[in-house]
Symmetry: C2
Subunit: 148 residues, 2 copies
């Protein structure tokens, strides 16, 4: 299973420490530049207010199976990586949910993406408020809001 680059992120987050812990809390705009060859795949994307963005975490440690997480009630607790949103995981695909601010040709201007500059985008999907918004979803983890 091989992934190909379909685009790149242009964001103000240039290095570790720049990115907010939770991108959706921030109002910073980023640009997703889709490669020309894939631009036809953007047709009608302006129909949607929000998008899923899948991008590759190229610096991730793929052998990590358990991790501590920031803001955990117990800072020593290790959780399985499938129970966290850390980029360190066997297949380091990050999932962001963004507001689509506008489209400029093959560039999507988005808000709420905490990806590093030059992150490789592998997929974009529309987010449906009717199907994907599960407000009753719950977590027993302390500080869940910040933690994942």
């Amino acid at each position: 299973m091989n992934l190909k680059e379909v685009g790149r992120v242009h964001s103000p987050y240039k290095k570790k420490g720049d990115a907010p812990f939770q991108g959706r809390m921030e109002d910073i705009e980023a640009r997703i530049e889709i490669l020309e060859e894939f631009a036809p795949a953007l047709k009608d994307i302006e129909d949607f207010s929000h998008l899923f963005v899948l991008y590759w975490a190229h610096e991730a440690k793929r052998e990590t199976l358990q991790n501590r997480t920031p803001y955990d009630q117990d800072p020593q607790a290790r959780h399985g990586v499938f129970a966290t949103r850390t980029p360190n995981r066997p297949n380091p695909i990050n999932l962001g949910i963004v507001d689509l601010v506008r489209r400029e040709g093959n560039v999507l201007v988005v808000r709420g993406l905490d990806a590093f500059d030059q992150s490789v985008v592998v997929d974009i999907k529309p987010y449906s408020g009717k199907v994907d918004a599960i407000s009753q979803a719950s977590s027993r983890r302390a500080h869940e809001k910040k933690e994942d």
Copy 2:
């Protein structure tokens, strides 16, 4: 960018036509069997009521950039694949949001997954009702509820 299998779906959907158009509308249970070597990555996953499941659409047509979609107001309209949830896309990673019913060792019993039996799972992430549920997300597409 290479993906590795972390698990398999066991579901009642054996072939095209079996799967519902929108998995989340259905109450059918499926099982996600995580490979033993990745089982430690499941630690504390029971903390979450809902999960994102990323799985590979091995029969997808990766060269497809525009597609018709079922239930479209205009059945002849072609949309860019990034503006649909079709598995046919440059990187055929399907994204499901499921209810975690229970964990049985390295098996997750889930509800709302419309994956075919034997689908290869590449990642699992916790879903946060506080961060990921954007009920105001909107679509201008007709029949949006069924369509994506």
